[in-house]
Structures are given as C-alpha cells and as structure tokens.
Symmetry: C2
C-alpha cells in the first residue's frame, strides 16, 4: 500500500499553492459522480476541499474513488489547480481551487453515519449523544471544542502572567459537611470508609493560602450529586482562584481584566470595564433576580407607596399587611387581546402569584380590571413611576415582597425573550454584592450559610451575628452575565473570634465545628493570612462565548439529565467480586428502567 | 486598624529600592531581640527580608514587634535602608538591605508550628503530611510546586502551538474491562449501577480521534485502586496525548521536542536529541530492565556461548537446558572481602537466583569458586566479552533467561548506586521499542495484552497473531529517563480485521468483545482514522525535574501507602442515610486499624 503522509490540511489550500503537489488525509463529506468524473469533498479539522478524480489522469484513483462512500477515511495525493471561473464556489473557503487526484488510498471504510455531518441538524439529542464521535465531527461542535480549548489557555496564560500557581488538589477526598450531596467512593483498604469526590476545592484552596501559596488557581473538575436540570451536569469544570494579602478592589479589578482578556482572545469582543455593581437587594428589587439580565430594561417598579390607600383593596390591603405591589411596563403592548393577557396571568399563577393585575394605557383611556379603582392622583403617580406612555401595558403583582419579585422577575425574562427585547450580540456583566450571609431554614429552624461557613461578614455587620443574624451581609460577590451567574466568591474568615461568632449564628457548637471542620480550623491556628477567592463556572462561560444555550453542547462527553452517558452506558452494574472487594453490597437492585 | 496593603514581595527588595517606603505582608520566620532592637525575618512566597523595629523610630511598632512569635502573619510599613558593610548577610538574597519598621500590624497570630519552616528537616513524614499546610511553607516545597506549575504551563504551551486541542474527558465513566482495579462510584439515580473513575482516558481519546479531533491532549487525573508502593499514588496526573494521520517518526520527534522544551523551560537543561532507541529485547539483554538507567555502564554480558562446554557444570548444564549464563563486570572491585561478596550473593538469592558465581581478577590470579574450572580459552573469551581487566570482579548468574536478566539488572542498579557510578546531574533518555504485544498468563492459561487490546502489532508480525501470538511485537514505545518509565504509548488498531485477529489471540469471542468494548468497536466502524498516542507520568517527571526521589514531595496533598490523607483523614465513615440514598450497605465494618 502506498504510504501517503499528509502535507496540508484540507481547509488550508488556497490559490497560493496552485500547482503544488499535496497529500491530504480526511473524511469523505460528499461524493458525486458527474459523467465519469468523481468529485469528493474531503474534510478534516481544518475544513473541506474538493478533490476531482479523473480516470484520464489516474484510472486507479478513479476506480478507488468509485467505491468510496460518506465518511470513508482517505489519503489523497494530487495537484492543486485553479477552478475555472464558472466552477468557483464562493460558499466554500477553498472554493477557488480543487485537487486533481493522482492517487487515492482508502485508509478505512465507514458505515453510513446515523446523521449527516453538518451544522444544521434535526435529530434527537439522544441519538447525537449515543453517536457522540459522529456528532463531534460536525463543524459547529469542533468549533465549540476549539473555543473551549482557547478559553482554557487564555485563562491560564493570564493567571500565569499574574503570578498565580496552578496546584492540583485531590479528587479522592473527604465528604463535605454543610454542602450539597457528595459522590462517594468506597475504599477497599479501609472497609466501611469512603472517599468523596470534591464539590469544589474550597477547603484545599484555603489550606493553600495557609500554606503561603498566596495566588492559587486551578481549572478543575467538581462533582455534585444533585437532581439535574437542563443547565446542570454531575461533573462540571470550574476556574478556581484564591489569593492572600490582596484587598477586594484590586482583586475584583484583576478578575475583570481576566474576563475581558478571555473574551477578547476567544471571540474578539472588547468588554467594557469596570463592570457595574449592584447589591443583592437592589438586584432583587429592580430585576427580581440575583442574576439580572441587563441586556434590556423593563425593570420592576414599586407602586406600594402610590397605591397604599387605593380603593382597589387587593393593592391597599397587601400594602397594609406589609406586602408589596410592583409592576413592569410592557412597552407598546396596550393592545394585547384579552386572550394574550390571560396567558400571562396563567404564567404568573403558575409561578405562585394569586393573580396578575393589568392596566393598559390605550387611546380610549385606561383599561383593565384595576383601572376603574384608580384615582387620578394615583394614576399620575403610577404613570410617573413606571414611565408609562400611551400604548404601554402595566402588569402588576401584589403579595409578599419575595414572591412579587420572583414572579415579576421571571415574567420580565420571558417577556424579554418573546418580545425580542434582548440584544443577543451584547455581553452585559455585573457584580452582585452584599449577599445575605445566612439563610433561615424554616423546616430545620436554623440558619445556613448562603455561600459556606467561612464567608466573611461585612465588617460593620459583624456585631449583628449575635443579635440579628438574618441581617448580616456577606463579603461575597457573584459575577453575572446576560442573566447567568458565571462566578461567585467571597472574602474568607481568617480570624478565630469571627469564625466562632459565625458558628454561634449557625447554631453549631464548638465541638460540632471541630468535628466537622477540625483540620481547617486547626490550620487557621497556625498563621492564616487574610484571603479570599472566586470560582467561575467554566462550562457556562464557554456556552455564552459560543453563543449556545445548552451546556451539553459545550462538553465533549456530557451526561443526560439522569446522569447517564448514552455513549458508554455509564453508570452500569459491576461484577459481584468488585463489590465484595469494596466491602459493600447493593440493597436495591431496581433496574434503571424503573426509576 | 491601619490598612497596610503590600507594595513589594519580601524577596524582591534590593539595593535598587533603598530609600523607598514599602509595605510587606508575610510570616515571621525568626524574631530576635538585640538590646532593645527587634529584628524580624519576614517571609513570603518571594523570599525573606530583615525588618528592624527600633523603638526610637516607632515605639508602637517596637511594642507590637515584641509580642510577635514565629509564623505570626504581619503587615509592615517601613523604609528600605542599606545595611552597614559589617552587617551585610551574603547568605541572604536580600542581605544587603533591611527594612526600618515604621508601622507593624499583626494580621493573625499563630501557634508554635509543629516543625520549623526550613529546607533541611528531620521529622517523620507522617507529621509533615498531617500538617501539610505548614510543610508546604518550606521553601523547597514551594519551589517544587512552582516547578510543577511551570512544567504544566510549558507542556500546554508547546502542545497548543503545535495544534493540539485540550479536551476534558469524563471522570464519572464506565468500568474498564481488562484493566487494573477500578475505583467505583455508586449511582443514586440508577440503583445497583456504578460509575468508575478513569484509569486513563484511553477509550475517550481514541473516540476523539474517530470524532476527527486529530490532535488531542489533556493533563488529567487518573485513578488506579492498586496496592500502593512507594512510587504509586491512588490518583496521579498524566499528560495524555493522541494524534491521527501522523506517522510514527514525526510523532516521536515531536514528543522529543516537547520533552526537551519542558526541560529547558523548567530547569534550563538542554537535552540531546534525537533520543537513543533500544528494543525491549536489547534492553532486557543489556540492562536486565525495560526501563534501563543509562547513566552508567556495567551492562549484562552473555557468557553462554563461552561456557557452554565448561567443566563447571552449573554453567554448562544451564546452557544445555536452554538457559543463560550472564555476567556484570564490577570494575575495580576484585579486592572485595568474602563478606562483601556474600552480601551480594544474599541479594541475588533474595531476588530469586539460585546463587551468584564470582570471578575476581586479582594480581595473584583468578579467584572465586568458578575460577579453577575455567580453561584458559574459556577465560580468554570471558575476559574479552566482559572487558575484564586486572582488578575487576565478575558477578555471574546462570538460570532461565528472564530470571538471569531480572537478577543481574537489579544488582546492576544497586551496585551503581552503592558504588556511586551514577552522574546525578545527567538526564539520559531512551525510547524502548518493539515490546511484546501479548503476555501469557500461566494461571489463566491465556494471553493478555501487555499495553491494551487496541495496540497495533508490528505490520510484519500480524500473521503471527494466529500462529505464534507470543512472538508478536507491538508498535508500542516507552520513554525512559534515568531508570524510570516516564511515558508509554502505541499506535492503535484502526482496522477491523486486525482487531478481530487480536481478539482471537486473546481468546475473546466476538460476542464477548462486543459486550466488553461494544461502543468503541462500533465507533471504529464509522470511519476511524489511523491513530496513536502516548501518556506521560507527570508526577514522576516533576520528581525527576525537581531532583527528588519521593513522589509525595511533588504532589500538594498526597496520600500515604494505604491511600489515606493524613490531613483530612480521608477516607472516612459516612452517615447511614448517605449509603441508603446510594442503595448500598457496608458488608464489613472492620475498622481500618484492623487492616
């Protein structure tokens, strides 16, 4: 067999190499037989080029070409020739040239692929996942994986230049107290004992600060055994960062620089800095979300003051009971049909609202069930607060404040999408700050740390830890982009008296704390520097960079919502002797079909 | 509290900044009180500098300094001053200057560390591992972690420049057939099913070749649940590489370039290329090892032909039975005492030899139990083969060939170390090639793949698969350095008929193969390109770069020989409800102390 070693990538061939003899290796994208001439579109990672097999030039090559089919793997030797003007293909990067085939070797045959190798594809995702090795041949998938690669290298290069040290932390570690559900790994050597896969390297990165590493990073796999949603995977990748001795402002600014460089180096977008900041409270009040999508307006407006004495009892009664009445202004939609409005009322109710009051500012006057109850003065105030103009539609919810914000925040997002208010090409970052340190769990009757129990309270709130823990704000910050949380972090507690106050607020006794966090608390006694850090959700960042809306499209071998890999059929039953060696047995052999 | 934000690293201060006011953050390395002046050696990641607290300059700072102890965390503001000539400390990088302290803030206190923060340390490794956050403060550990970081970035940068794409493969995957023991992860959603942690991304990287990625790499964590030896860890890091359409020679040459760049960029050593190559057979014959240490000679010499008719029956009898007689020449050691020689005889016996025959070429003639049996002609041949000169000592083993090579290979290594024949500053690479494809397992009565079942046989040996499988050589190559295997790889089988012959040789039926390797075999039917790759043991490379001889010193948070983390106490028992959720129970609650 003739040995044909690649000299060029298919997509690299241009007019510049016309006349050159080349060897190409790749897959058959398409094969056509036109009056004895066989045309093969040959594809590799770099692109596609047309190869012409002419029996007058090489009968053997033409004969071999006659037998090839889609996705056969070929080696082709030939000469690059300019196409005649009428055969130039402007839709192909290499459309000005073609390769006159002089020799063709089939390196491997291929069965007909389960779906075509093309960007636009109408096929069940489960089929794509089962044949992932075919799916990943599609140019859009190759571009996404390359983008992911470039993003990783860009982040590493930035952090390396800025004195960060990449340190690998253990994957086989200890179950995390106070965290999400762990994946466990039974130990063979220590019967009855288990490793846990890390939910994040949180504790190790803090130990590295105690160890004097000063600037740490890692692009690291993390694991959470939670019920999966569309945008969650059991294993995910995190850009994990921690620094010592660095005040908050230079740290935030450094992280913005990193993100800006990442966007510039991968998709050529210049990001404006500094990023705006918004407190958690303000984000909830104005957008009904702690990860506001700032690409459009339609902010939530508080009407409580304006309607507190309204004769519309739903409004005034809510305010009297300490609740809120808030509205969003759906610009130019006063003309919506009753049916259209009903649909949004339904959505509001599904989200938990008791109802959705609407006020349409039409030419013929105010419309809607609330309109007739509003005094002129009340309407004047509402109109001013909401900037309501003729033709606008106000949607109002009256209830307890958290519910009002949640419902209107979600309606705002859905309306923004449906009414096409979102500039898809824009990237709107913001830092959300001053998160509550603690959340009260009604069921357990105790507070839980919103981030984790080592998050530093804001200095001025520290005294509240013992008196009014729910009011304490954390030195925590999330980075949000286009409605997604893409990163989150905090300053950490490094002083013992603050840590003890924190445990008191959490209702954790000193003994309990020592049992749960013993080695970390002990480490802190040996000279812990002031430190803090952040973790970015790398999969989500890649998704946003790539302009995709499905995390699975940004991961080479993702899992389904039930945590299965359709390609390898993992997880799977194992041999009994494997379990025996691990000192465990299965208590419930219900098959996965029953789930 | 005064806010003192670092302006410089301690180790960065030189004569160039004399007169400058600086702020330093760091740990107290040492504190001395000399007649009212307090001298503090302050340490951070960049180095150590002397801070002088003079009560005449700042009584407050001097008072604060009086209370600090080793490993307290400080912020210091002061002015850099030149030391007087008699107080210059030439052993300190910053020894020409010191910092006159104007303000000192204790950022955190510290208990007395369990051992001092210094390179030379005489303390049990278990104590170092328990207090790893203190251990990692030692400059030698910091240097090693930094070196590891630089090594990672150097490899990534090289591969990135050469068109390799970093792709993350799953950590939660499927148990590997025909591999080592897997770590298993019970699935909560699929009762009775388990993920396995990857022993290597072997199957995924081959799937990525089928997917058209062409050049893949990853610096990736791998897991093997094997009984640990000193140089093994349950989780380890691998530089994983795979290419399509690239012939062996350019691939080998590219990998040599990568390794050379790695050594140059991290420790400034220029490595000679191309690396020598040696076949597996030759390595075993000349060095008694498939990972020969080429930093010294003392090669194994085959005396079988020379002694086949010897009147020394141990020699001639062994040759007559098809065995081998081989020797190593221990230069200049003919004068060894009987006791010294006995010690090495013992070692040989412990390694499995029946005995160790010795021949000392002394001034007074040949000595040793064999000497009197040798004819002049025999000795002449032996002398020529072994280049034996007066004063040399020959150590001989007669037995079946594999045992002879194993014993003499190991004696050679031990003698090389004891006699200080090894140039510790040198780096001697070699490729070991033409490994046997299959190993016969007497117990199971079948062949096993020496690398894995997808390793390509050498083209000329393919017909032997069906007739004499033990003779088939693989297109496999290991990279060895100074007696360590630092990498290993192979060309893979991409054609179905070869794969089927391979399974026949392994005694695996078509159905069994489909059950065990189904998705990979199926993938190969959809157009698999010719491909191959390699994996480098990254921990071991770092160990060699750092000039250490313990893998644990090159990993931030390593595990002990029993797979425990002494810092976090992983693995550990977990709550019963966690096991219940995972549908498993522990069958053997023997505590780890009983193991």
């Amino acid at each position: 067999m003739e040995t044909l070693h690649r000299t060029h990538g298919c997509g690299e061939l241009t007019r510049e190499v016309v006349g050159r003899q080349v060897v190409l290796n790749g897959w058959v994208q398409k094969r056509r037989d036109l009056g004895g001439l066989i045309f093969i579109d040959l594809r590799d990672r770099s692109g596609v080029v047309q190869v012409v097999c002419n029996p007058e030039i090489s009968p053997e090559a033409a004969e071999a070409a006659d037998r090839v089919r889609s996705e056969y793997v070929l080696a082709v030797r030939g000469t690059v020739v300019q196409r005649s003007p009428e055969t130039v293909n402007p839709r192909m990067a290499t459309g000005e040239i073609e390769v006159q085939c002089e020799s063709l070797v089939v390196l491997n045959e291929a069965k007909t692929p389960p779906f075509p190798i093309q960007d636009d594809l109408d096929v069940e995702e489960s089929v794509r996942l089962k044949y992932r090795y075919v799916d990943l041949r599609r140019p859009v998938m190759q571009r996404t994986l390359m983008l992911r690669h470039r993003a990783m290298q860009a982040v590493r290069s930035f952090l390396d230049r800025n004195g960060f040290v990449e340190v690998e932390t253990p994957m086989l570690t200890r179950s995390t107290p106070e965290g999400a559900r762990d994946y466990l790994v039974p130990s063979r050597v220590h019967p009855g004992s288990f490793y846990a896969l890390p939910q994040s390297p949180q504790i190790f990165k803090q130990l590295l600060m105690v160890a004097g590493m000063e600037r740490y990073f890692q692009i690291v796999r993390c694991f959470r055994d939670e019920d999966l949603r569309a945008d969650r995977q059991p294993e995910f990748t995190q850009i994990d960062i921690e620094v010592s001795f660095m005040p908050l402002e230079p740290f935030i600014s450094l992280m913005e620089e990193m993100v800006a460089e990442l966007f510039e180096k991968t998709i050529g977008i210049r990001v404006e800095r500094p990023f705006p900041r918004i407190t958690y409270r303000e984000a909830m009040e104005r957008y009904g979300s702690d990860k506001p999508d700032l690409r459009f307006g339609m902010e939530l407006v508080d009407l409580s003051e304006a309607v507190k004495e309204s004769s519309f009892k739903v409004f005034s009664g809510t305010v009297a009971r300490g609740g809120k009445v808030k509205a969003i202004n759906v610009k130019g939609c006063a003309g919506w049909s009753r049916k259209e409005i009903s649909r949004w009322e339904e959505e509001a109710k599904n989200l938990g609202a008791k109802g959705l009051a609407w006020i349409a500012s039409r030419d013929e006057g105010l419309k809607g069930p609330v309109a007739k109850f509003l005094s002129d003065a009340e309407w004047a105030k509402i109109r001013e607060l909401t900037s309501c103009e003729p033709g606008d539609l106000l949607l109002c919810v009256a209830d307890e404040q958290p519910l009002v914000e949640e419902v209107l925040g979600e309606l705002r997002l859905r309306l923004g999408r449906e009414l096409d208010l979102i500039d898809k090409g824009s990237f709107r970052f913001a830092w959300v700050t001053e998160f509550p340190l603690l959340e009260y769990d009604e069921e357990d009757g105790r507070y839980y740390a919103m981030h984790h129990p080592f998050t530093m309270p804001m200095e001025e709130d520290i005294p509240l830890l013992d008196t009014d823990p729910g009011k304490v704000r954390a030195q925590a910050y999330d980075l949000v982009l286009n409605g997604y949380e893409i990163g989150g972090g905090s300053r950490r507690i490094h002083r013992r008296e603050v840590q003890e106050a924190m445990f008191r607020a959490l209702g954790i006794s000193r003994e309990e704390a020592r049992e749960k966090f013993g080695f970390l608390l002990e480490a802190f006694e040996y000279g812990a520097p002031p430190h803090g850090g952040i973790a970015f959700g790398f999969d989500r960042i890649v998704m946003l960079l790539a302009g995709r809306n499905n995390l699975r499209d940004c991961i080479a071998f993702p899992k389904t919502a039930s945590g299965s890999c359709l390609l390898t059929d993992a997880p799977a039953p194992v041999d009994e002797h494997q379990l025996k060696e691990l000192h465990i047995s299965v208590t419930n052999k219900m098959s996965s079909e029953d789930v």
